[in-house]
């Protein structure tokens, strides 16, 4: 008993540590966290780790193997020790239990149809080359989206209020932060899923993990083979039901003294509540798994079906762009390919590696990374995109490549990053203020870090932009800074990222001797 109480507290401590650390990764805006720290914190995240292993085939990403080994030994401990979405649910369950002064669950029949469908759907989509199911339901990525889309704006708001108060006292140690871009679709989805997860956890404990979560269902299969299993000891169990009512997975049927270990999330609560030493956690032979009663609960099924259709509805929500009427002669921008982050190598590869956890979006110091809508296609929903309306990519910055947990964005060496061509700037003369108004501008050329956009003689002393494709890296500085509507310069994404030439270096001849006389 005592040892199990310790085990339970160990689980609470570890899961709290992980959920707090992971949340911190998403909320920090100081840019002071090292990539190594981020990678260490996310090392054991199951789904990202598998994907990273497949993309990189290296020891840097064998976290999922550790999880599989742990599962083969002790069952789905990932779900209660390391999964941030699991921890979030546990916190909700703990809180709601406190609020209602009771924490009782009861045995739930396994929703096998549902959970296997979700897993099978995920596998089928993956086989077809789509990460959509993982984008939407992988617990780590979903947790990331919830923190990034819901908590982060609130966190920034709190920071900004504190900053405003401090500044009244002339203290400038903190500084305000802004989101720059904001995706209602991504926000709406995250909010919906958060409400769903909270509702399920208050009413039915860890039902998300045993109905929707593809990682949970997969680990459930593995858990059937675990060496250690939770079992009710038929000789000492009195079927008092304490373990059942403590089980947030609803997988203990104390009346029949049966445990569905494939649904057990490894919280070890049952071991601590049994007064008769009737719950064991022991090595057990691979056994004939018992069959459970298969009657269905229509209310629950209906709720889940409704939820699923609401998600679909949400996803199908059409992004409304503030369309403006064009002045005569001006041209609308038609971008054929989106711009994917530096280090993603090519759009296809990126699209098939990213689970849209939004860690890069949360960590991007310029906020040029924003959730996509349909730019990568329907199944690329929420994957990060270079959004040059919000900002542009900092020339020296390589943060996103260093922290991506799935390897969708790979790290780049500094010199390589500065030459990685994400796309090419396209100039639309008809929209340009130099052409339409015949007044000086050049904001695009000002911001260009390689001077791929240069100003060339036009009329009189006026100069007009000209793009050199070979040294353009597609960072979007020109597009972001262009003052016209619609833009006069934009970046057309490269489906496959290329290597730009090095910007030319030529020592300028000073028009007068640096050490001489004053020219006035």
């Amino acid at each position: 008993m005592k040892v199990f109480v310790l085990l339970k507290w160990l689980r609470v401590a570890i899961s709290l540590a992980f959920v707090l650390l992971i949340s911190f990764l998403f909320l920090d805006f100081s840019g002071s966290l090292s990539a190594a720290f981020t990678n260490a914190v996310l090392y054991l995240q199951f789904v990202p780790s598998i994907i990273k292993f497949i993309t990189l085939t290296g020891v840097s990403s064998i976290g999922f193997i550790l999880i599989l080994v742990l599962t083969l030994l002790f069952g789905r401990v990932y779900c209660s020790f390391f999964c941030p979405l699991g921890a979030l649910q546990d916190i909700v369950i703990f809180g709601s239990g406190r609020a209602r002064r009771k924490k009782t669950f009861k045995f739930i029949r396994s929703l096998n149809g549902l959970r296997y469908s979700f897993l099978a759907g995920t596998v089928i989509l993956l086989a077809a080359g789509s990460y959509l199911a993982l984008n939407l339901f992988d617990p780590y990525s979903l947790f990331g989206k919830i923190i990034s889309n819901l908590f982060r704006p609130a966190w920034y708001g709190v920071n900004n209020v504190i900053v405003a108060v401090l500044e009244q006292f002339d203290v400038y140690t903190l500084y305000p932060v802004s989101l720059k871009g904001f995706s209602w679709i991504s926000f709406g989805f995250s909010l919906f899923m958060l409400i769903l997860v909270i509702r399920l956890s208050v009413k039915k404990g860890r039902l998300y993990c045993n109905s929707v979560c593809p990682a949970g269902t997969f680990l459930g299969f593995v858990a059937r083979l675990s060496i250690f299993k939770i079992k009710l000891d038929e000789s000492s169990c009195t079927s008092c039901g304490r373990c059942s009512s403590a089980c947030k997975s609803g997988c203990i049927n104390s009346r029949n003294m049966e445990v569905d270990f494939s649904r057990c999330v490894g919280c070890f609560k049952c071991l601590t509540v049994c007064p008769d030493n009737g719950v064991h956690f022991k090595p057990s032979p691979l056994n004939r798994s018992r069959r459970f009663d298969r009657r269905t609960d229509n209310r629950r099924r209906e709720f889940l079906v409704k939820s699923a259709s609401t998600i679909t509805g949400l996803v199908a929500f059409i992004k409304i762009d503030g369309s403006q009427s064009l002045k005569p002669g001006m041209k609308e921008i038609v971008r054929e390919n989106p711009v994917a982050p530096p280090g993603s190598q090519n759009i296809r590869r990126f699209h098939k590696t990213c689970t849209a956890c939004h860690l890069c979006i949360s960590s991007c110091p310029t906020r040029v990374l924003q959730p996509s809508f349909t730019e990568y296609g329907w199944d690329g929903l929420f994957q990060p995109i270079m959004d040059y309306t919000s900002s542009f990519c900092n020339y020296e910055c390589r943060i996103c490549g260093g922290i991506c947990p799935t390897g969708a964005i790979l790290p780049l060496e500094s010199e390589h990053k500065k030459r990685t061509q994400l796309g090419k700037a396209k100039f639309i003369k008809e929209n340009c203020v130099v052409y339409t108004d015949e007044t000086a501008c050049g904001a695009c050329s000002e911001h260009c870090p390689t001077k791929a956009v240069d100003m060339v003689p036009y009329k009189g002393r006026l100069t007009i932009p000209e793009v050199d494709d070979k040294i353009c890296i597609g960072c979007g500085a020109c597009e972001h800074s262009c003052p016209t509507k619609p833009k006069s310069i934009y970046v057309e994404g490269n489906p496959v990222h290329m290597l730009a030439d090095k910007p030319k270096e030529k020592k300028p001849e000073p028009k007068q001797k640096p050490v001489g006389d004053f020219p006035f």
Partner: protein, 307 residues
């Protein structure tokens, strides 16, 4: 739409409202100081020294920092911190110069000294890489952000032709003394970036300037609040690929510094150093026409110091 903006700007509206309530002394906007007739020179030019030494010599010949900063005054020092590039690239004002100016302000008795810029590259990287944040803090200044709209208040540009309104950083509005410390460099939009061009970093909505006759807007804004002192850093000068520059090969060492309370004269002198004629630079001419200052250097009392 309203709610989207609300979230987007991170409660900036609330902040603006709060700060406007606290710093509501708008009448100060129009008390534009207009040079100092008691000064021995209209303009000082120094060459062949380190930035600190050149500044010390220049300010001394104008009667020392006390001629500009009085005991207990609030001073804002506005360098160019536009880009995420190190000092040797000369995209930003030399940090050594900023440090010495702040030290001089302290010695003159300034109560508070503030440093900020509304940068082009990501602000925290610019502040850091330029070396200005560290130098300014070491000298005892407060380094203030300028990257969110909450710091900016709308003002009227009464004499403006193209620019009638602008959102200006509260420190420019609220400080007693305004010291403008640009770096002289080539500029792909405005030909040269010097003192007047540096003022684009005190406004929020500068894309409006690009859209509505850039040169006229630069000149218009110079009528709003003329800096009490302009210190032009021409120690390293970016001769091409400005304003950001591509590599150190864009840079030539001129080891020169220009000091003047007349922003137009300062720009004219710096343009000459660069090798351009002030009368060719449209915003310099336009500012002269608006009566901001004079670009006819022959009419000025100039102190030329060679170290």
């Amino acid at each position: 739409m309203k709610r989207r903006d609300f979230v987007k700007n991170g409660f900036s509206a609330g902040l603006t409202a709060t700060s406007a309530m606290v710093f509501g002394n708008l009448e100060k906007l129009f008390a534009v100081p207009n040079g100092n007739p008691d000064l021995p020179y209209d303009l000082v030019a120094v060459m062949n020294g380190e930035p600190e030494m050149m500044f010390d010599n220049a300010i001394e010949s104008l009667g020392g920092m006390k001629a500009f900063v009085k005991q207990g005054q609030k001073v804002v020092v506005k360098p160019n911190i536009g880009w995420d590039v190190p000092p040797e690239r000369a995209g930003n004002t030399n940090p050594k110069l900023i440090k010495r100016i702040i030290e001089q302000c302290r010695n003159a008795g300034a109560s508070d000294i503030y440093v900020f810029d509304n940068t082009c590259d990501e602000w925290s990287k610019c502040y850091k890489t330029s070396g200005i944040e560290e130098a300014a803090k070491a000298a005892g200044a407060k380094v203030v952000p300028g990257h969110t709209e909450s710091y900016f208040r709308e003002v009227e540009i009464k004499k403006g032709i193209s620019l009638k309104k602008a959102r200006v950083h509260e420190l420019i509005i609220d400080s007693d003394v305004f010291i403008n410390v640009p770096v002289l460099k080539h500029h792909s939009s405005a030909e040269l970036s010097i003192a007047m061009k540096n003022l684009m970093g005190v406004v929020w909505d500068r894309m409006y300037w690009h859209r509505h006759n850039l040169h006229q807007c630069i000149a218009d804004f110079a009528t709003f609040r003329k800096p009490d002192l302009n210190v032009i850093d021409a120690f390293r000068v970016m001769m091409k690929n400005g304003p950001r520059g591509v590599s150190v090969s864009d840079v030539v060492e001129y080891k020169t510094l220009i000091l003047s309370p007349d922003i137009v004269a300062a720009d004219a002198a710096a343009a000459k150093i660069f090798g351009s004629e002030p009368s060719d630079i449209s915003y310099i001419v336009k500012a002269g026409e608006l009566g901001v200052g004079t670009y006819n250097l022959d009419s000025l009392k100039i102190n030329r110091i060679k170290l």
